[in-house]
Amino acid sequence: MDKATSIGNGRIGRFHIGVTGLILLVTVLGAGTALLQTHASVRESQATRDSVVTAVELMGALDSGALRAAYDTGIAVDTVTKMMEYATYRLAALELEQNGRNDEAALYERRAEQVEAEIIAAGALSVLFTDDRYAPEPEASLMPDIDAYMEDWREPIDGLLARQQEQAQAADQWGDRADAYTSVATVLALSLFLFGLSLSIPSRMRTLFAAVGSLLVCAALGWTAWTILLT
Protein backbone atom coordinates (compact mmCIF):
# COMPACT_ATOMS: atom_id res chain seq x y z
CA MET A 1 0.00 0.00 0.00
CA ASP A 2 2.81 2.32 1.00
CA LYS A 3 4.76 1.35 -2.11
CA ALA A 4 1.77 2.07 -4.38
CA THR A 5 1.26 5.48 -2.80
CA SER A 6 4.92 6.22 -3.15
CA ILE A 7 4.83 5.25 -6.85
CA GLY A 8 1.66 7.24 -7.27
CA ASN A 9 3.19 10.27 -5.56
CA GLY A 10 6.25 9.89 -7.76
CA ARG A 11 4.03 10.01 -10.87
CA ILE A 12 2.21 13.06 -9.58
CA GLY A 13 5.54 14.74 -8.89
CA ARG A 14 6.84 14.06 -12.40
CA PHE A 15 3.61 15.30 -13.95
CA HIS A 16 3.75 18.51 -11.94
CA ILE A 17 7.39 19.09 -12.81
CA GLY A 18 6.69 18.40 -16.49
CA VAL A 19 3.75 20.80 -16.63
CA THR A 20 5.67 23.42 -14.65
CA GLY A 21 8.48 23.11 -17.18
CA LEU A 22 5.95 23.61 -19.99
CA ILE A 23 4.52 26.66 -18.23
CA LEU A 24 8.00 28.13 -17.97
CA LEU A 25 8.67 27.34 -21.62
CA VAL A 26 5.43 29.11 -22.58
CA THR A 27 6.54 32.08 -20.44
CA VAL A 28 9.78 32.33 -22.40
CA LEU A 29 7.90 31.90 -25.70
CA GLY A 30 5.43 34.57 -24.60
CA ALA A 31 8.26 37.00 -23.88
CA GLY A 32 9.77 36.21 -27.29
CA THR A 33 6.42 36.70 -29.00
CA ALA A 34 5.97 40.02 -27.19
CA LEU A 35 9.38 41.10 -28.50
CA LEU A 36 8.45 40.07 -32.07
CA GLN A 37 5.11 41.84 -31.73
CA THR A 38 6.82 45.02 -30.50
CA HIS A 39 9.31 44.86 -33.36
CA ALA A 40 6.49 44.45 -35.92
CA SER A 41 4.49 47.27 -34.31
CA VAL A 42 7.50 49.58 -34.38
CA ARG A 43 8.10 48.81 -38.08
CA GLU A 44 4.40 49.36 -38.80
CA SER A 45 4.53 52.66 -36.94
CA GLN A 46 7.64 53.79 -38.85
CA ALA A 47 6.18 52.78 -42.23
CA THR A 48 2.87 54.50 -41.41
CA ARG A 49 4.74 57.63 -40.37
CA ASP A 50 6.81 57.62 -43.58
CA SER A 51 3.67 57.03 -45.64
CA VAL A 52 1.86 59.96 -43.99
CA VAL A 53 4.87 62.27 -44.47
CA THR A 54 5.16 61.25 -48.13
CA ALA A 55 1.42 61.88 -48.56
CA VAL A 56 1.89 65.37 -47.09
CA GLU A 57 4.86 65.98 -49.42
CA LEU A 58 2.74 64.70 -52.31
CA MET A 59 -0.03 67.17 -51.47
CA GLY A 60 2.53 69.99 -51.26
CA ALA A 61 4.10 69.00 -54.58
CA LEU A 62 0.66 68.79 -56.22
CA ASP A 63 -0.36 72.18 -54.84
CA SER A 64 2.89 73.95 -55.78
CA GLY A 65 3.08 72.19 -59.14
CA ALA A 66 -0.51 73.05 -60.02
CA LEU A 67 0.09 76.73 -59.18
CA ARG A 68 3.24 76.80 -61.30
CA ALA A 69 1.52 74.99 -64.17
CA ALA A 70 -1.37 77.47 -64.00
CA TYR A 71 1.12 80.36 -64.23
CA ASP A 72 3.08 78.85 -67.14
CA THR A 73 0.05 77.77 -69.15
CA GLY A 74 -1.62 81.13 -68.47
CA ILE A 75 1.39 82.95 -69.94
CA ALA A 76 1.43 80.52 -72.88
CA VAL A 77 -2.27 80.96 -73.64
CA ASP A 78 -1.99 84.77 -73.38
CA THR A 79 1.06 84.76 -75.66
CA VAL A 80 -0.55 82.56 -78.29
CA THR A 81 -3.67 84.75 -78.18
CA LYS A 82 -1.48 87.82 -78.69
CA MET A 83 0.22 86.13 -81.63
CA MET A 84 -3.16 85.69 -83.28
CA GLU A 85 -4.11 89.24 -82.36
CA TYR A 86 -0.87 90.44 -83.98
CA ALA A 87 -1.63 88.52 -87.19
CA THR A 88 -5.15 89.98 -87.24
CA TYR A 89 -3.89 93.59 -86.92
CA ARG A 90 -1.29 93.02 -89.63
CA LEU A 91 -3.91 91.59 -92.00
CA ALA A 92 -6.28 94.47 -91.28
CA ALA A 93 -3.49 96.99 -91.92
CA LEU A 94 -2.68 95.27 -95.22
CA GLU A 95 -6.33 95.32 -96.32
CA LEU A 96 -6.66 99.03 -95.45
CA GLU A 97 -3.43 99.84 -97.25
CA GLN A 98 -4.63 98.05 -100.40
CA ASN A 99 -7.83 100.11 -100.26
CA GLY A 100 -5.87 103.37 -100.00
CA ARG A 101 -6.81 104.05 -96.35
CA ASN A 102 -3.21 104.59 -95.24
CA ASP A 103 -3.91 106.53 -92.02
CA GLU A 104 -6.12 103.78 -90.65
CA ALA A 105 -3.58 101.16 -91.84
CA ALA A 106 -0.82 102.98 -89.89
CA LEU A 107 -3.00 102.86 -86.78
CA TYR A 108 -3.37 99.05 -87.09
CA GLU A 109 0.37 98.73 -87.81
CA ARG A 110 1.12 100.64 -84.60
CA ARG A 111 -1.23 98.35 -82.65
CA ALA A 112 0.49 95.31 -84.20
CA GLU A 113 3.91 96.66 -83.13
CA GLN A 114 2.68 97.01 -79.54
CA VAL A 115 1.36 93.45 -79.50
CA GLU A 116 4.59 92.18 -81.04
CA ALA A 117 6.56 93.87 -78.23
CA GLU A 118 4.28 92.16 -75.72
CA ILE A 119 4.82 88.79 -77.42
CA ILE A 120 8.59 89.21 -77.25
CA ALA A 121 8.38 90.20 -73.56
CA ALA A 122 6.05 87.30 -72.73
CA GLY A 123 8.41 84.86 -74.45
CA ALA A 124 10.90 85.28 -71.61
CA LEU A 125 8.39 84.87 -68.79
CA SER A 126 7.60 81.16 -68.94
CA VAL A 127 9.66 77.98 -69.27
CA LEU A 128 7.17 76.96 -71.95
CA PHE A 129 8.99 79.44 -74.24
CA THR A 130 12.46 79.60 -72.71
CA ASP A 131 13.08 75.87 -72.26
CA ASP A 132 14.01 74.01 -75.47
CA ARG A 133 12.08 70.94 -74.32
CA TYR A 134 8.75 72.78 -74.54
CA ALA A 135 9.33 75.87 -76.72
CA PRO A 136 7.37 75.89 -80.02
CA GLU A 137 9.34 74.93 -83.12
CA PRO A 138 10.00 78.11 -85.19
CA GLU A 139 7.77 78.20 -88.31
CA ALA A 140 6.06 74.97 -87.23
CA SER A 141 3.71 75.78 -84.38
CA LEU A 142 2.60 78.62 -82.17
CA MET A 143 1.85 76.43 -79.19
CA PRO A 144 4.55 75.13 -76.86
CA ASP A 145 4.63 71.39 -76.08
CA ILE A 146 2.19 71.42 -73.14
CA ASP A 147 2.03 67.59 -73.07
CA ALA A 148 5.80 67.30 -72.53
CA TYR A 149 5.60 70.00 -69.85
CA MET A 150 2.77 68.20 -68.02
CA GLU A 151 4.59 64.89 -68.30
CA ASP A 152 7.71 66.39 -66.69
CA TRP A 153 5.55 68.06 -64.05
CA ARG A 154 3.85 64.77 -63.17
CA GLU A 155 7.07 62.72 -63.00
CA PRO A 156 8.14 63.65 -59.44
CA ILE A 157 4.53 63.49 -58.30
CA ASP A 158 4.15 59.97 -59.73
CA GLY A 159 7.41 59.06 -57.96
CA LEU A 160 6.08 60.36 -54.65
CA LEU A 161 2.78 58.54 -55.18
CA ALA A 162 4.57 55.24 -55.89
CA ARG A 163 6.76 55.70 -52.78
CA GLN A 164 3.74 56.53 -50.64
CA GLN A 165 1.92 53.42 -51.84
CA GLU A 166 4.97 51.24 -51.13
CA GLN A 167 5.23 52.65 -47.61
CA ALA A 168 1.50 52.17 -46.98
CA GLN A 169 1.78 48.58 -48.22
CA ALA A 170 4.77 47.96 -45.92
CA ALA A 171 2.78 49.41 -43.01
CA ASP A 172 -0.09 47.02 -43.80
CA GLN A 173 2.26 44.04 -43.93
CA TRP A 174 3.94 44.88 -40.63
CA GLY A 175 0.51 45.52 -39.13
CA ASP A 176 -0.61 42.05 -40.26
CA ARG A 177 2.50 40.56 -38.65
CA ALA A 178 1.89 42.43 -35.41
CA ASP A 179 -1.72 41.17 -35.40
CA ALA A 180 -0.51 37.61 -36.00
CA TYR A 181 1.91 37.83 -33.04
CA THR A 182 -0.88 39.16 -30.83
CA SER A 183 -2.97 36.15 -31.85
CA VAL A 184 -0.04 33.83 -31.09
CA ALA A 185 0.30 35.43 -27.65
CA THR A 186 -3.42 34.80 -27.09
CA VAL A 187 -2.99 31.12 -28.01
CA LEU A 188 -0.03 30.89 -25.61
CA ALA A 189 -2.16 32.46 -22.87
CA LEU A 190 -4.84 29.83 -23.55
CA SER A 191 -2.26 27.07 -23.26
CA LEU A 192 -1.07 28.58 -19.95
CA PHE A 193 -4.67 28.45 -18.71
CA LEU A 194 -4.94 24.76 -19.65
CA PHE A 195 -1.58 23.92 -18.05
CA GLY A 196 -2.61 25.71 -14.86
CA LEU A 197 -5.93 23.84 -14.87
CA SER A 198 -4.16 20.51 -15.34
CA LEU A 199 -2.15 21.17 -12.17
CA SER A 200 -5.25 21.74 -10.09
CA ILE A 201 -7.39 18.84 -11.39
CA PRO A 202 -6.77 15.54 -9.60
CA SER A 203 -8.50 13.27 -12.17
CA ARG A 204 -7.08 11.83 -15.38
CA MET A 205 -8.58 14.75 -17.27
CA ARG A 206 -5.43 16.70 -16.32
CA THR A 207 -3.48 14.70 -18.91
CA LEU A 208 -5.96 15.77 -21.58
CA PHE A 209 -5.66 19.42 -20.54
CA ALA A 210 -1.87 19.22 -20.60
CA ALA A 211 -1.97 17.50 -24.01
CA VAL A 212 -4.30 20.13 -25.52
CA GLY A 213 -2.12 22.85 -23.95
CA SER A 214 0.95 21.29 -25.58
CA LEU A 215 -0.85 21.12 -28.93
CA LEU A 216 -1.68 24.81 -28.63
CA VAL A 217 1.98 25.59 -27.90
CA CYS A 218 2.97 23.63 -31.04
CA ALA A 219 0.32 25.52 -33.05
CA ALA A 220 1.62 28.83 -31.68
CA LEU A 221 5.18 27.89 -32.63
CA GLY A 222 4.06 26.88 -36.15
CA TRP A 223 2.06 30.09 -36.55
CA THR A 224 5.05 32.17 -35.41
CA ALA A 225 7.37 30.37 -37.84
CA TRP A 226 4.85 30.81 -40.68
CA THR A 227 4.50 34.53 -39.85
CA ILE A 228 8.27 35.06 -39.78
CA LEU A 229 9.05 33.05 -42.90
CA LEU A 230 6.09 33.49 -45.22
CA THR A 231 4.49 36.88 -44.59
Partner: protein, 230 residues
Amino acid sequence: MVQDSERSTRPQAGKGTRLATLVAILIAAVSMASAGVVWRAAIAESRATTSEREGMIAAVKREAAMAADVSTLLWEARYAADHALYLARLSVLEGDEDVGADAEAEGLAVIVDSLAGFTPLSTDESYRTSDGGFDLDARLDDLRGLNPDLQDVEPGKYFSEADRYHLESRLLLSAVVVFAISLFFLTLAEITPHRARYVLAAAGGLIFLGGLAGVIAAELYCVLAFAPVG
Protein backbone atom coordinates in the same frame (compact mmCIF):
# COMPACT_ATOMS: atom_id res chain seq x y z
CA MET B 1 21.50 4.94 14.84
CA VAL B 2 18.39 6.99 14.30
CA GLN B 3 20.01 9.99 16.02
CA ASP B 4 23.05 9.78 13.68
CA SER B 5 20.78 9.74 10.63
CA GLU B 6 18.89 12.82 11.87
CA ARG B 7 22.17 14.66 12.52
CA SER B 8 23.40 13.95 8.97
CA THR B 9 20.17 15.04 7.21
CA ARG B 10 19.61 18.26 9.21
CA PRO B 11 22.50 20.27 7.69
CA GLN B 12 21.43 19.13 4.17
CA ALA B 13 17.84 20.18 4.87
CA GLY B 14 19.12 23.52 6.15
CA LYS B 15 21.18 24.04 2.99
CA GLY B 16 18.17 23.13 0.85
CA THR B 17 15.97 25.63 2.68
CA ARG B 18 18.58 28.36 2.30
CA LEU B 19 18.88 27.66 -1.44
CA ALA B 20 15.10 27.62 -1.81
CA THR B 21 14.90 30.99 -0.03
CA LEU B 22 17.70 32.44 -2.15
CA VAL B 23 16.07 31.21 -5.37
CA ALA B 24 12.69 32.59 -4.25
CA ILE B 25 14.31 35.98 -3.62
CA LEU B 26 15.98 35.79 -7.06
CA ILE B 27 12.67 34.93 -8.71
CA ALA B 28 11.10 37.94 -7.01
CA ALA B 29 14.02 40.13 -8.12
CA VAL B 30 13.74 38.89 -11.73
CA SER B 31 10.00 39.58 -11.69
CA MET B 32 10.55 43.07 -10.30
CA ALA B 33 13.33 43.78 -12.81
CA SER B 34 11.10 42.56 -15.68
CA ALA B 35 8.28 44.83 -14.54
CA GLY B 36 10.71 47.76 -14.28
CA VAL B 37 12.17 47.11 -17.72
CA VAL B 38 8.72 46.79 -19.29
CA TRP B 39 7.82 50.11 -17.63
CA ARG B 40 10.95 51.75 -19.11
CA ALA B 41 10.14 50.24 -22.54
CA ALA B 42 6.57 51.59 -22.32
CA ILE B 43 7.95 55.07 -21.50
CA ALA B 44 10.34 54.85 -24.46
CA GLU B 45 7.48 53.81 -26.78
CA SER B 46 5.33 56.66 -25.49
CA ARG B 47 8.17 59.11 -26.18
CA ALA B 48 8.64 57.62 -29.64
CA THR B 49 4.95 58.18 -30.37
CA THR B 50 5.22 61.79 -29.15
CA SER B 51 8.29 62.42 -31.33
CA GLU B 52 6.57 60.86 -34.35
CA ARG B 53 3.52 63.05 -33.82
CA GLU B 54 5.74 66.15 -33.56
CA GLY B 55 7.59 65.05 -36.71
CA MET B 56 4.34 64.68 -38.63
CA ILE B 57 3.14 68.10 -37.44
CA ALA B 58 6.50 69.52 -38.55
CA ALA B 59 6.11 67.88 -41.97
CA VAL B 60 2.63 69.38 -42.41
CA LYS B 61 3.89 72.80 -41.25
CA ARG B 62 6.83 72.65 -43.66
CA GLU B 63 4.66 71.72 -46.65
CA ALA B 64 1.98 74.28 -45.75
CA ALA B 65 4.63 77.02 -45.45
CA MET B 66 6.15 75.94 -48.76
CA ALA B 67 2.74 75.93 -50.49
CA ALA B 68 1.95 79.40 -49.09
CA ASP B 69 5.31 80.73 -50.30
CA VAL B 70 4.84 79.22 -53.77
CA SER B 71 1.34 80.69 -53.93
CA THR B 72 2.69 84.15 -52.98
CA LEU B 73 5.50 83.78 -55.51
CA LEU B 74 3.16 82.92 -58.35
CA TRP B 75 0.68 85.73 -57.79
CA GLU B 76 3.69 88.05 -57.62
CA ALA B 77 4.92 86.51 -60.89
CA ARG B 78 1.51 87.09 -62.47
CA TYR B 79 1.58 90.81 -61.54
CA ALA B 80 5.20 91.06 -62.67
CA ALA B 81 4.24 89.48 -66.01
CA ASP B 82 1.44 92.03 -66.48
CA HIS B 83 3.94 94.77 -65.59
CA ALA B 84 6.44 93.43 -68.17
CA LEU B 85 3.80 93.35 -70.91
CA TYR B 86 2.59 96.89 -70.20
CA LEU B 87 6.22 98.01 -70.14
CA ALA B 88 6.80 96.44 -73.57
CA ARG B 89 3.78 98.28 -75.00
CA LEU B 90 4.93 101.48 -73.37
CA SER B 91 8.39 101.23 -74.89
CA VAL B 92 6.81 101.00 -78.37
CA LEU B 93 4.51 103.97 -77.72
CA GLU B 94 7.30 106.12 -76.32
CA GLY B 95 9.18 105.85 -79.62
CA ASP B 96 6.15 107.08 -81.51
CA GLU B 97 5.78 110.77 -82.35
CA ASP B 98 2.01 110.59 -82.72
CA VAL B 99 -0.05 112.71 -80.28
CA GLY B 100 -2.49 109.86 -79.60
CA ALA B 101 0.42 107.55 -78.87
CA ASP B 102 1.81 110.08 -76.39
CA ALA B 103 -1.49 110.25 -74.56
CA GLU B 104 -1.76 106.46 -74.52
CA ALA B 105 1.84 106.22 -73.26
CA GLU B 106 1.06 108.57 -70.38
CA GLY B 107 -1.87 106.39 -69.34
CA LEU B 108 0.16 103.22 -69.64
CA ALA B 109 3.00 104.72 -67.61
CA VAL B 110 0.56 105.18 -64.69
CA ILE B 111 -0.48 101.54 -64.95
CA VAL B 112 3.16 100.40 -65.15
CA ASP B 113 4.07 102.42 -62.04
CA SER B 114 1.09 101.07 -60.16
CA LEU B 115 1.90 97.45 -61.00
CA ALA B 116 5.59 97.88 -60.13
CA GLY B 117 4.73 98.37 -56.47
CA PHE B 118 3.14 94.94 -56.09
CA THR B 119 6.29 92.87 -56.28
CA PRO B 120 10.07 93.25 -56.26
CA LEU B 121 10.10 90.88 -59.26
CA SER B 122 9.21 93.93 -61.37
CA THR B 123 11.75 96.32 -59.89
CA ASP B 124 14.66 94.33 -58.44
CA GLU B 125 17.17 93.48 -61.16
CA SER B 126 18.57 90.62 -59.06
CA TYR B 127 15.37 88.69 -59.83
CA ARG B 128 15.89 89.04 -63.59
CA THR B 129 17.41 86.35 -65.77
CA SER B 130 19.76 87.10 -68.65
CA ASP B 131 16.97 86.55 -71.22
CA GLY B 132 14.64 89.06 -69.51
CA GLY B 133 12.58 86.53 -67.56
CA PHE B 134 12.10 86.19 -63.80
CA ASP B 135 14.38 84.22 -61.50
CA LEU B 136 11.50 82.67 -59.59
CA ASP B 137 13.74 80.31 -57.60
CA ALA B 138 15.74 83.27 -56.22
CA ARG B 139 12.54 85.06 -55.25
CA LEU B 140 11.18 81.88 -53.64
CA ASP B 141 14.36 81.55 -51.55
CA ASP B 142 13.93 85.13 -50.35
CA LEU B 143 10.24 84.60 -49.58
CA ARG B 144 11.11 81.50 -47.55
CA GLY B 145 13.78 83.52 -45.76
CA LEU B 146 11.08 85.87 -44.48
CA ASN B 147 9.84 83.06 -42.21
CA PRO B 148 13.01 81.41 -40.90
CA ASP B 149 11.06 79.53 -38.20
CA LEU B 150 9.01 77.72 -40.83
CA GLN B 151 11.92 77.38 -43.25
CA ASP B 152 13.98 75.53 -40.65
CA VAL B 153 11.21 73.10 -39.70
CA GLU B 154 12.82 69.69 -40.14
CA PRO B 155 10.69 66.63 -39.39
CA GLY B 156 13.70 64.34 -39.83
CA LYS B 157 15.18 65.23 -36.44
CA TYR B 158 11.95 64.25 -34.67
CA PHE B 159 11.83 60.97 -36.58
CA SER B 160 15.46 60.23 -35.66
CA GLU B 161 14.53 60.79 -32.03
CA ALA B 162 11.50 58.51 -32.41
CA ASP B 163 13.71 55.82 -33.94
CA ARG B 164 16.09 56.14 -31.01
CA TYR B 165 13.21 55.55 -28.56
CA HIS B 166 11.94 52.62 -30.63
CA LEU B 167 15.43 51.10 -30.50
CA GLU B 168 15.59 51.62 -26.74
CA SER B 169 12.22 49.94 -26.33
CA ARG B 170 13.23 46.95 -28.44
CA LEU B 171 16.55 46.52 -26.63
CA LEU B 172 14.79 46.63 -23.26
CA LEU B 173 12.19 44.09 -24.35
CA SER B 174 14.99 41.81 -25.54
CA ALA B 175 16.25 41.91 -21.94
CA VAL B 176 12.80 40.79 -20.78
CA VAL B 177 13.22 37.61 -22.87
CA VAL B 178 16.56 37.06 -21.10
CA PHE B 179 14.79 37.57 -17.76
CA ALA B 180 12.13 35.05 -18.78
CA ILE B 181 14.85 32.48 -19.54
CA SER B 182 16.43 33.25 -16.16
CA LEU B 183 13.02 32.76 -14.53
CA PHE B 184 12.74 29.42 -16.34
CA PHE B 185 15.96 28.13 -14.73
CA LEU B 186 15.26 29.65 -11.32
CA THR B 187 11.80 28.12 -11.11
CA LEU B 188 13.18 24.74 -12.18
CA ALA B 189 15.79 25.12 -9.42
CA GLU B 190 12.98 25.84 -6.96
CA ILE B 191 10.96 22.74 -7.83
CA THR B 192 13.73 20.25 -8.61
CA PRO B 193 14.63 18.02 -5.66
CA HIS B 194 17.97 16.83 -7.15
CA ARG B 195 21.41 18.36 -6.81
CA ALA B 196 20.91 19.74 -10.34
CA ARG B 197 18.98 22.59 -8.68
CA TYR B 198 22.30 24.19 -7.70
CA VAL B 199 23.38 24.26 -11.35
CA LEU B 200 19.94 25.49 -12.41
CA ALA B 201 19.96 28.21 -9.76
CA ALA B 202 23.47 29.31 -10.77
CA ALA B 203 22.46 29.38 -14.47
CA GLY B 204 19.32 31.36 -13.66
CA GLY B 205 21.27 33.82 -11.51
CA LEU B 206 23.96 34.34 -14.13
CA ILE B 207 21.42 34.83 -16.91
CA PHE B 208 19.61 37.36 -14.71
CA LEU B 209 22.86 39.25 -14.13
CA GLY B 210 23.56 39.12 -17.88
CA GLY B 211 20.10 40.55 -18.55
CA LEU B 212 20.65 43.32 -16.00
CA ALA B 213 24.00 44.18 -17.61
CA GLY B 214 22.21 44.23 -20.98
CA VAL B 215 19.58 46.66 -19.66
CA ILE B 216 22.24 48.99 -18.26
CA ALA B 217 24.25 48.78 -21.51
CA ALA B 218 21.13 49.49 -23.60
CA GLU B 219 20.20 52.52 -21.49
CA LEU B 220 23.75 53.87 -21.55
CA TYR B 221 24.03 53.33 -25.31
CA CYS B 222 20.77 55.17 -25.97
CA VAL B 223 21.76 58.07 -23.71
CA LEU B 224 25.31 58.39 -25.06
CA ALA B 225 24.85 57.56 -28.75
CA PHE B 226 21.91 59.87 -29.45
CA ALA B 227 21.72 63.55 -28.64
CA PRO B 228 18.22 64.74 -27.75
CA VAL B 229 16.40 67.15 -30.08
CA GLY B 230 17.07 70.68 -28.85
